[in-house]
Each structure stands twice: as structure tokens, then as C-alpha cells.
């Protein structure tokens, strides 16, 4: 049973077509990766799905609702939550205050304690976010997303810019979430992708060029040529 349906979505910037007539569905319980080279249109597609950008054409359905014309805060309230490629937090508020913000809508103090404990954030709770390392900031953003009790979580490059230890930590957390949450992961790190997902959608120049199980995509000739750089 599907939870997300993207139908013929197109996004143009002037004459440049960033997302070209893209369609796919995600079923409940699936963990999907969207991969592709830089400029393939992955982040633009997520921006259109979550209404950070207005689509020029097509429709998006989430959990039975047509969300194409809804503002971002209404989409979030339906349970479609996202993180950002460049961490987007409230830098002058403390970690505790950042984690409290989603809680005002959906969570409770005990949820904040539980999530902070799960992500290892307890020692940073009273520090202003601007002063904590990037890896911790990524975990805070993940924590904020989880506190919104999402039905689907879209993670835009969750391990980008992180060291090996932080990467491992986030992969471990995400592995634990797989069973209880629909995940879409945009990621360049193929080890992370193959470790986590059930299905991979490959984009290039704004279009989907492959869609299948990890082992199928790994063997796809076009993907090898375009993305993995194998002749």
C-alpha cells in the first residue's frame, strides 16, 4: 500500500529543467534511496515534494492526501518530515530549546529525553547550537524530525561532511528506525545507501533513469556508466 505518490512532477528554473516529468511511488514500510550525480535534481525533487519550491507541473499525494497545493507547515503536520542538505537549525537557541520546538506541536518532555538519550545528545543540551560540532548538529536535526512523530522522513544527505565515527553513528540510528518509519534517503555515500535501503531510485539530468532493488541497480549498465563511472 502506497504512502507517497509523485506524478509527473516538473520543476524549471528559467530554461533549465531541474526535474523533468518525474513519477514514482513509495510503499509503506519501504526504505528508499534517491541517488544520482551532482545536479541530477534530487534535492530539487525533495524541495518540490515538501513545498520548499512550487512545482511547475504534476501532483504529489501523501498518505491519501493531495499535498501539491498545501503550504509546507500543513505538509509537516500530515507527517511528511524532512531534513536539509545544509543543516538548518536555530543556531542561537540551545540544543534543548531546538529539541523543544517540535515538541510544542507533537511531543512531550519525556519524548525529548528519550530521543536525546537515543542520539547521545544529553551532554550538549544546554549548549547553544552554533557551538556544537557538525556531527552533533546533524543528530539534533534528526532528533527534531523524530520528535515530530513522522509517518515519512526524508533525509537529504544525512552523513555529508561527517567523519567516519559520526557516519557510523548515524547509520546505526537510521538502521534502528527502518522498521518503524518510512525513510527516503538522498545520499552520495554508496556504503550508507547499500547498508540501509530496500530500493534505489537513480536520477540524472532531472529524470529517473533506474528504479529497483540495490542489487539490480548495482548491475544496471546505464547507472554504471552515468553514476558509478564504470564503462
Amino acid at each position: 500500500m502506497e504512502i507517497l505518490r509523485v506524478e509527473n512532477v516538473t520543476k524549471r528554473f528559467g530554461g533549465f529543467v531541474a526535474v523533468n516529468n518525474v513519477s514514482f511511488t513509495v510503499n509503506r514500510g519501504e526504505t528508499v534511496a534517491i541517488i544520482g550525480p551532482n545536479g541530477a535534481g534530487k534535492t530539487t525533487l525533495v524541495n518540490v515534494i515538501t513545498k520548499r519550491l512550487e512545482p511547475d507541473g504534476g501532483s504529489v499525494f501523501f498518505d491519501g492526501f493531495n499535498i501539491t497545493r498545501l503550504p509546507p507547515h500543513r505538509i509537516s503536520k500530515l507527517g511528511l518530515i524532512r531534513t536539509f542538505q545544509t543543516v538548518s537549525l536555530f543556531p542561537t537557541l540551545t540544543v534543548r530549546e531546538n529539541l523543544a520546538l517540535p515538541g510544542l506541536n507533537a511531543g512531550t518532555t519525556s519524548d525529548i529525553k528519550r530521543i536525546a538519550g537515543m542520539l547521545g545528545l544529553e551532554e550538549y543540551m544546554d549548549i547553544v547550537v552554533a557551538k556544537v560540532p557538525l556531527g552533533v548538529q546533524k543528530l539534533i536535526e534528526l532528533g527534531m524530525s523524530l520528535l515530530l512523530k513522522p509517518k515519512m522522513l526524508i533525509l537529504d544527505e544525512p552523513v555529508a561532511g561527517l567523519g567516519a565515527e559520526d557516519r557510523l553513528n548515524i547509520v546505526k540510528v537510521l538502521s534502528g528506525l527502518k522498521s518503524s518509519l518510512n525513510l527516503i534517503i538522498i545520499e552520495h555515500d554508496m556504503d550508507v545507501v547499500f547498508a540501509l535501503v530496500d530500493r534505489i531510485i537513480v536520477m540524472d539530468k532531472g529524470s529517473i533513469i533506474a528504479d529497483g532493488k540495490p542489487e539490480e541497480v548495482r548491475e544496471n549498465k546505464l547507472v554504471k556508466e552515468i553514476y558509478l563511472g564504470v564503462e
Binding site: 507547515h73 543556531p91 527534531m144 515530530l148
Partner: protein, 327 residues
């Protein structure tokens, strides 16, 4: 200090400083000095104006050049009401609250969907339209002469004795300050600070930035109008000057002087501003020069205002409940 955790969250340096200041204000009439009472009343009125302004500026990150509009709406509401409808200052002041609320919502609908720069320009434009209307609609507003004879003695209250009037202002001041402190500590206070810190992120946490901006503008507008209505009763006269944009920019200057990212910054700014304007009144021709130099120094060297400067001197003083943004 052994306090229950919930109480510990509510009590910080700001509330202690605020209560001490209110206590200090409460004993000023005992000195018998009318001049000190006069200065204190002005500090309370402009303190309210600046604190109200800073909800929008320091918390929500919206620069308004049109707060003279709200101050003027409050002042003219109480004047028109007490002179034409019901001759009582208390009822007049209370009447200004719903008028300010409606004005704030109307201004919000017209301005808040636009970017920050457009918001600043639109508030300036609306304020100047209001000022022009006050000047031109003579038969209602008295034109440039304004409205005189706003009563201190009414049907319900008699504020004609200076001490009675002083405590009348003090009650409003204390109520507004404690209300703003409660807001600062509430979930809406946190949301408003978040709005100023990164408003683009909030919709993806399920919050409408328009609604939050509207809350900030409404609180700011009503508090500013309340200050305006008390100002009108204080002087018993109101002229269009209070709606002029330069007057509306004064709480901005006060916020910058005290420190806009500190809860009590605007109040500290109002204290300094009112004291200085009164102290250097005899050198009036140099006042603007002095103010300009002080502002230049603040923006170039002390962007956290006086409280920011003090905090940098005494590291870890924790004067600020929030230290949100610097310019």
C-alpha cells in the same frame, strides 16, 4: 537556592532585576520630588513602548519603522473616547486595547506576507498615511493642534493627584512587564525567538510563520498602543507628532542602546534615552548630534547594546535569557 524545578525554570536574573526595578519605582513618590516622578513616568511609558517594539524587532527579527502608528492609535483612541464618549481615563485606556488589536491585525494582513525589507517599508508607509490623516482630518483629530483636555479625573477614577496618577501608570507598567516576561518564558516566547533565528525552518516543523509573525505584531502593537494611551492621559494632550515616523523609530534606538537581544535591553535603553534627553534638554541643539554619535558607537562597537557590553566585561553574567542575533 532550593526551589521546585518548575519554579526554577521561571525564575532568572531578569525577573529579579525587574521586580527590584518595580520596587524602586514604587518608592520614588516617597521622595516627594515631582521631577523624579515625572522622569519615572516617562521611563515607564517609553519602557513599555520599547519592550513592546522589541517583541517584533528583537524576537521575531522584523524591523518596523511604523510603530508611531500603534502609539498614535492608542493616544488618539483614549483622547477621542474620553472627549466624546465617556469621560474616564481608565475606561479610555482600556478602550484603546481592542482598537489596537484590530489595527495590529489589519496592519499584519497588509504587511506580514512580504519579505523583511518590504515589511519595514510598508510599516513606514502606513504610519505616514496615518500621520497625514491625523493632520488633515481636522474636524476629528484637531489637525496639527491635536486634541487637548484629555481628562485625568473621570467618572470611575480620579487621577488628578500626581501620586495617584503615578501609581496608576506603575500598575500598568508592572502588569505589562510581567506579562512580557511570562510570554518570554512561554512556548510562544520560544517560538518567536526561533522565528527570529531561522524563520525558513519553522514551516518544516509544522508552524505557520505568518501566524507567528501575526502574534508578534499583535502583542507588539497592543503594548505600544497602551503606552501611547497612557502618554496621552499623562500630558492631557495628543498631537500628530506621536505618529510621525521619527517618533516611531525611538523604541528602535532604545532597543539598540540597551541591547535588543536581551529581554530587559529595551527597558534599559528607555531608561538611558529618557534620562539623557531630559538631562541634556538645555543643550537641545546638540541632542541629535549626541544621539547620532551614541548610535554610531553602539552599532560599530557594541552591537549587543549596553547589556551586551556589560556581559562581555563580566563573562558569564547571564544577563540575557536569550542572545539570539547580532547584526
Amino acid at each position: 537556592m532550593f526551589l521546585p524545578p518548575r519554579l526554577r525554570v521561571l525564575i532568572d536574573g531578569n525577573i529579579i532585576a525587574l521586580l527590584l526595578f518595580i520596587g524602586f519605582l514604587a518608592v520614588i513618590p516617597l521622595s516627594g520630588h515631582r521631577f523624579y516622578m515625572y522622569i519615572a513616568v516617562l521611563i515607564m511609558i517609553f519602557g513599555m513602548f520599547a519592550m513592546g517594539y522589541n517583541i517584533l524587532f528583537g524576537y521575531a527579527g522584523l524591523l518596523s519603522f511604523g510603530h508611531g502608528l500603534f502609539f498614535g492609535v492608542g493616544a488618539y483612541s483614549v483622547a477621542l473616547f474620553t472627549l466624546n464618549v465617556y469621560r474616564d481615563p481608565l475606561v479610555g485606556v482600556l478602550f484603546s486595547i481592542p482598537i489596537a488589536l484590530l489595527t495590529s491585525i489589519l496592519v499584519g494582513v497588509l504587511t506580514l506576507k512580504h519579505g523583511k525589507v518590504y515589511f519595514a517599508i510598508l510599516t513606514l508607509a502606513l504610519s505616514m498615511i496615518f500621520w497625514s490623516a491625523l493632520v488633515k482630518l481636522r474636524w476629528i483629530t484637531g489637525g496639527t493642534d491635536g486634541l487637548t483636555g484629555i481628562p485625568k479625573r473621570g467618572v470611575l477614577v480620579d487621577l488628578s493627584a500626581p501620586t495617584t496618577f503615578y501609581y496608576f501608570i506603575l500598575v500598568f507598567f508592572a502588569a505589562i512587564m510581567l506579562g512580557l516576561y511570562a510570554l518570554n518564558k512561554s512556548r510562544y516566547g520560544l517560538l518567536l525567538r526561533a522565528l527570529g533565528a531561522n524563520e525558513d525552518r519553522l514551516p518544516f516543523l509544522g508552524y505557520s510563520t505568518f501566524t507567528l509573525r501575526m502574534i508578534a505584531l499583535t502583542v507588539s502593537g497592543v503594548v505600544s498602543a497602551l503606552a501611547g494611551s497612557l502618554y496621552a492621559v499623562f500630558y492631557s494632550v495628543v498631537t500628530p507628532d506621536v505618529a510621525y515616523w521619527t517618533f516611531g523609530a525611538e523604541p528602535l534606538v532604545m532597543s539598540l542602546i540597551g541591547g535588543s537581544s536581551y529581554f530587559l535591553g529595551p527597558l534599559v535603553g528607555a531608561l538611558i534615552f529618557v534620562s539623557l534627553t531630559t538631562a541634556v534638554a538645555r543643550f537641545a541643539e546638540y541632542w541629535m548630534l549626541l544621539l547620532g554619535a551614541a548610535l554610531l558607537a553602539m552599532v560599530l562597537f557594541f552591537r549587543g547594546g549596553l547589556l551586551g557590553f556589560l556581559e562581555s566585561l563580566v563573562g558569564g553574567l547571564k544577563l540575557g535569557v536569550y542572545r539570539r542575533w547580532r547584526f
